[in-house]
Amino acid sequence: MEHYLFLIPLLPLVAFVINLLLGRWVVKHASAYIAQVAMFGSWVVSVLVFFDIRGSSDKVLEQHLFTWIPSGTFNVPVTLHVDQLASIMLLVVTTVSTLVFVYSKGYMAHDGGFYRFFAYLPLFAFSMLMLVLANNLLLLYVFWEAVGLCSYLLIGFWFRRRSANEAAVKAFVVNRVGDVGFGLGIMLTFWTFGTVDFYGPDGIFAKAANHAALGVSGGTMTAIALLLFLGACGKSAQFPLHVWLPDAMEGPTPVSALIHAATMVTAGVYMVARTHPIYLQSESALVVVALIGAFTSFLAATIALVQYDLKKVIAYSTISQLGYMVFALGTGAWVAAIFHLMTHAFFKGLLFLGAGSVMHGMHDELDMRKMGGLRKFMPITFWTFLIASFANAGLIPFAGFWSKDEAIVGAWASASSVGKLAAVVGLITAFLTALYMFRCVFMTFFKAPRFNPEAIHPHESGAWMAVPLVILAVPAALIGFIGFPPENGPFQHFLEPVFEQAPAQTTHANEQASLYTIQEPATTRTAIAAAQAATATETHETHVSTATTVTFGIISTIIAVSGIFVAYLTYITGTISATAIGARFAPLYQLFVNKWYLDEIYHNYITMPFYNFAMFLWRIVDVKIIDGTVNGVAALIGAISQRMRTVQTGLLANYALGIALGMVIIVGIYLAGFSTLFR
């Protein structure tokens, strides 16, 4: 299978090139099909690769394409490397992409820059796939930024909107801040380990493992880990660098669905997961990661609670869920994080697509206060949105419950000091998530419509949009079971080889039936059901006793249900008045509405100082000091020569006098200096 690896990224790239160059004149509307076909092809190859890898426990596929930078010892090859983690990511990315491509065909049907959209999307897919396939840190970095480029292009798609473009610039610059951290991390790794390759005997991971032997101090390891994490924060919108994600909603909804929910934002999590051997070497790094993750999830949840813009709510919920994944990573629950990543990709994608179809129906109206009672108008959207909300809230049968619960359990039971704290925060955030998700559901789909029916006629979206919704609903509901029973489900076993040194998981399960839901033909769905049924009972000791998992399961269900109930009380029955609570906790409410004043802080304390310093540099240093001196010297010379002119009086006598004076002086000098007069 190694030889066909290059096909995965190549197909979207080809689609991008065709659509970009020929899109405007030749291809026009056909560009959608080209993109979709390419994506589907890439999905098929990914599935084949998955099955190939699933075949043997620690099978790794690698394909070297060409050498990129052969500069002395810094040799960067372009090689594709697929292991279990990568194959899962491939599957997630390609699946969601294909669905979003289909959805976008409907959504962007009558938009001016149609071909341009379907050029940028495959470019994004290509970069994301290459990012996942990269076998060394620098290549990862290259496509890390390429993905940032695509998000810039797609956010700023409707370039006539000033806000869209500002959001795009903001996204790119904030990402760039993260990337700088990432870049510096790469440099540090290179100079400490002498190479940027992950795998292989002299790869980073091998050397990291026995870094003490190599004389590399713990501090350096922490520094590398933290720098890389800074990059992850930038990309996965964690606390300091999360400000760009809410603004990214300016872009078209499919973009938000694909990029800002499923794939790009998870790149950070993937990167941390991929480089976990480095993180394992430094406890403090892991603590930081966990704390950031926890805090971000709580922060985002609070803000999401008070948002009225449908897409903004979902965006903040993404940040919150990403927070979960990050603190799962931070506490060593690698597999839980990836599991949550996968489940989140599906139900969050569904949420966004749902929001997209709502927008479509409501003539691009997003303010929930102007919606209501859309249940009757768009049943499919409603039901799929409801399933996704349940999943997001983490209700028992749905995917969200399993992964989120496992993350919390993993955090609770982990050896890391902040594990317990993270778990508690996780639970609180779970409650808030349930609350705001169902606030959003109740406000949009229930109660009486708050828009005037003549102007806006909400209608169910077309087939192109509805079908992907339904398809996505299935994994959103059922994907959780591949991680059942918690801790040693088929999913965990599949990922074991990647994280085998992981302290948390020491079990060694035998192969089990496949565990993936495969879209499209119903037959595949039945295969999944069969797989679940045949959960092998194997003996493996897990440090987490089934008792704790069961208790946590019960706790989180209770929390989820109570969250939904509270939302029901406030928005359906009106027993709790949201405005009253807002009024009582006014300062807190204002804090949340203004997004914890972070945007203002950044603007006033980072952007403006730089801008003013630049203005100072230009106005004062460049114009006044440097140019000033240059022109000053010229003026000075002019002035001096003007004064010298007056010496020429024109009178012959003066000149004669001058000559005589000269004679006197010369003879004087001779006498004083050279003659024997004074000696």
Partner: protein, 102 residues
């Protein structure tokens, strides 16, 4: 009384030279100035010849031949200029001649 050494000649030439110089500085009549210049030239000639004979070489005298030639040429041109100046109606007073300045 001491015999006639080279210093005597040098003193004489120095005195004549200074007189010539003072003439140039003091007098305002261009012609007188011209004469004073000639006097200064001769004073220099004396010292040249004096040094020549003191060192028993003829270089001094050869040099004087050339200075005399130059003085003659200078006199010709100088007088020409003075004539041209005075023909333009101006006086020969040195102080009025500053038209070149502005």
């Amino acid at each position: 009384m001491g015999h006639l050494g080279v210093e005597h000649y040098l003193f004489l030439s120095a005195i004549l030279f200074i007189i010539g110089l003072m003439g140039v500085l003091v007098r305002r009549n261009l012609l007188i100035i011209f004469m004073c210049v000639e006097l200064m030239m001769t004073a220099v000639n004396i010292s040249l010849v004096a040094f020549g004979t003191a060192t028993d070489t003829l270089n001094g005298q050869a040099f004087v031949v050339f200075t005399v030639a130059v003085a003659a040429a200078e006199a010709a041109v100088g007088l020409g200029i003075i004539l041209a100046l005075s023909r333009r109606g101006k006086t020969v007073d040195v102080d009025d001649m500053h038209s070149l300045r502005d």
